[in-house]
């Protein structure tokens, strides 16, 4: 114990004697750790921002989408959900509310005109209950009402970005916009959602009544829809899912051997899947950046190797006074370890600061998140690198012959 403490003291003394050199030695380590921390903090910050947005869907939300396996597609079957499925679910499944059809009219590219300006928006047809989920609600004016739907009224509720893109007045209610070759009266403006990942503008949305959408999409076939609903009580989620599966299989006349031609996703599951994707991206990117730490380790090794040569005489003196190989080995390994851990700590603080700065500068990011595991991992990895790269210089120092070392000029 005394020896360990003394070796530590000797290592610290050697570092302190050349502070500037020590600082330059660990620079690689500092930059490496800082880079890892920044990358992880920013990526995890994005992940948190996005999942927070999804959470506002409510963890009780379910989304039912048509789904087709490759085999089924090759067999020529086509998976689809229709308004009949919606009615069946409404009538036969208990413990649910706000069951709404969502009819994507134009995912990203629906052309909208106002005066002589035009823009492309995501246009969706849905029913009044859509706005009861709590995510989207009219900030001005109103949402689609049952009367709009029943009479297929050409009205539209628009997102904030649409106002800007089309140069509409700040209160656009009562103005008319042009879509699908007809005129739609703006009746409301949605609350702002902001951008996803700083790229996808969630406010570039237009909602029209479901039946209006259905009539626009052509009458020959029933429209393909997505069904959204809320489970009344969270503990019934599994039962509700099972019941919906039962109802839809019967609706679609699926034989027991056939697999589902739809998929039920809960928003909880979506968040889980998304978090997983982000964790993987984070790990991969952090791993790549972590290579910088290896480079930092090589830097420490180089300086220590030179330092051993420089301190040959000192090592000789220590050996003449009775230092064993082990004493010298321990001292130099600890020196490498101490350098790398100090570098990691400085890098940690620097990275944290930079991540906060990035979070401050990028509005889409609600905050930088530095998870505990990355701190532990960064410190652990750096310490290991220091240890491994400390071995060569330490072995070199320990192997010095005392007489040669004492004679060294």
């Amino acid at each position: 114990m005394t020896r360990l403490l003394e070796a530590l003291r000797a290592a610290w003394g050697a570092i302190r004697a050349h502070l500037l050199r020590a600082a330059l030695t660990v620079l690689g380590m500092v930059i490496g750790v800082a880079a890892v921390i920044v990358v992880v903090a920013v990526l995890q910050g994005f992940a948190h921002t996005i999942t927070a947005q999804f959470k506002s869907l409510g963890s009780n939300g379910l989304i039912i989408m048509p789904y087709q396996s490759r085999e089924a597609a090759l067999a020529g079957r086509q998976a689809r959900l229709t308004p009949d499925d919606l009615i069946a679910i409404r009538q036969q499944v208990r413990d649910i509310r706000d069951v709404v059809p969502v009819l994507p009219m134009a995912r990203f590219s629906g052309e909208v005109r106002y005066g002589n300006r035009s823009t492309a928006s995501s246009i969706t047809a849905t029913t009044p209950a859509f706005a009861q989920g709590g995510v989207q609600y009219p900030a001005q004016g109103r949402f689609i009402v049952p009367g709009d739907d029943a009479t297929r009224r050409p009205v539209a509720v628009i997102g904030a970005a649409v106002i800007k893109n089309l140069g509409l007045p700040a209160h656009p209610e009562g103005h008319y916009i042009q879509m699908f070759g007809g005129w739609f009266k703006v009746v409301g403006v949605l609350n702002k959602l902001g951008t996803l990942l700083g790229v996808i503008d969630q406010d570039n949305q237009i909602y029209i009544p479901f039946q209006t959408g259905v009539s626009l999409s052509g009458r020959s076939t029933p429209p393909e829809i997505i069904i959204q609903l809320q489970v009344a009580r969270a503990q019934n989620l599994a039962q509700v899912e099972a019941r919906i599966t039962q109802v839809l299989r019967r609706q679609h006349h699926l034989l027991p051997a056939q697999e589902n031609d739809f998929k039920i996703q809960s928003s909880g599951e979506l968040i889980k899947a998304l978090t997983k994707v982000f964790d993987i991206i984070t790990l991969v990117v952090a791993g790549i950046v972590g290579i910088a730490l290896l480079v930092g380790g090589v830097g420490i090794m180089n300086v220590l190797l030179v330092s051993v040569t420089e301190r040959t005489r000192e090592i000789g003196i220590q050996k003449s006074l009775g230092a064993t190989r082990g004493d010298i080995l321990l001292q130099f390994i600890l020196e490498a370890l101490l350098l790398s851990v100090l570098g990691a700590l400085i890098g940690l603080l620097l990275g944290w600061g930079l991540a906060l700065l990035v979070a401050h500068l990028v509005p889409a990011l609600s905050g930088a998140v530095v998870p505990g595991w990355v701190v532990v991992l960064a410190l652990g990895f750096t310490a290991t690198v220091g240890l491994v790269f400390g071995i060569a210089p330490a072995a070199k120092a320990a192997a010095l012959d005392p007489i040669d070392a004492l004679r060294y000029e």
Binding site: R3, K319, L321, G322, T324, P402, I403, L406
Partner: protein
């Protein structure tokens, strides 16, 4: 003086048939040839000879810094030949106190920490180490220079720190290699007086020098030439120092 212990009859160190050979390129250099030597406790011996005579090689072997190519060396009853590197380090730490021509102090450490250093390898606790080191520095008259770095001390003071460091662990032998070689003559006299006093106090002292005047301080002179002992003379111990 009654404080001086009687000389032990059993030798403190005993060398028999010591040979040391080096390879230098194709040639083999015989640094030591068939050296037999024994030294008893509280002797004051000088190894003298011109450079290349093998006196430093002999000192390195005696100090367990080097191993002989052939021959046996008993130190304090232990056969040094049988010891591994770690045990040799232990012997250097406990049995030998080195004093070098160029002092060999650790430049970053102050006088106190330089003197404490050998005790570190012994595992002596810090408080005890501090006490022993400052006592040793007191003995060499540097009790008021504990916190001075080597470059803040004169040559004579540095050599006294080195002597304190050699003494601090109460070794069996003080081995001094040209201890006055880098000092002016008046400082050299001071240092030699200090060795005489240490010998007087019961220490075994071995000096290595090429300077007959320095060697004259010792009570026994072992002269080397071309790796062989050519004479080994004792002079009458003066009645009082």
């Amino acid at each position: 003086m009654s404080a001086v212990p009687a000389m032990d009859t059993a030798p403190l160190l005993e060398l028999r048939g010591i040979n040391k050979r080096y390879r230098m390129g194709d040639a083999v250099v015989h640094a030591l040839q068939d050296v037999d030597l024994s030294i008893v406790r509280n002797e004051y011996v000088a190894f003298i000879g011109p450079s290349g005579s093998g006196k430093t090689t002999l000192m390195n072997i005696v100090g367990c810094l080097d191993r002989p190519s052939a021959g046996t060396y008993f130190l304090n009853g232990k056969n040094v030949e049988e010891l591994d590197d770690t045990q040799l380090a232990r012997i250097r730490n406990r049995e030998i106190g080195f004093v070098f021509q160029n002092f060999n102090l650790l430049g970053r450490a102050d006088a106190l920490h330089n003197v404490m250093q050998p005790l570190v390898y012994r595992g002596t606790p810090l408080r005890e180490r501090r006490r022993m080191a400052s006592a040793a520095l007191d003995r060499v008259g540097l009790g008021n220079r504990l916190d001075h770095l080597p470059n803040q001390l004169s040559g004579g003071q540095r050599q006294r720190v080195a002597i304190a460091r050699a003494l601090v662990g109460s070794p069996s032998i003080l081995l001094a290699d040209e201890p006055t070689g880098n000092l002016d003559s008046s400082t050299a006299r001071e240092i030699m007086a200090m060795f005489a006093a240490l010998h007087e106090a019961g220490n075994t002292v071995v000096l290595v020098t090429h300077d007959a005047e320095v060697a004259a301080h010792a009570h026994r002179t072992v002269t080397l030439r071309d790796g062989r002992v050519i004479s080994d003379t004792r002079r009458a111990v003066p009645a009082a120092a």
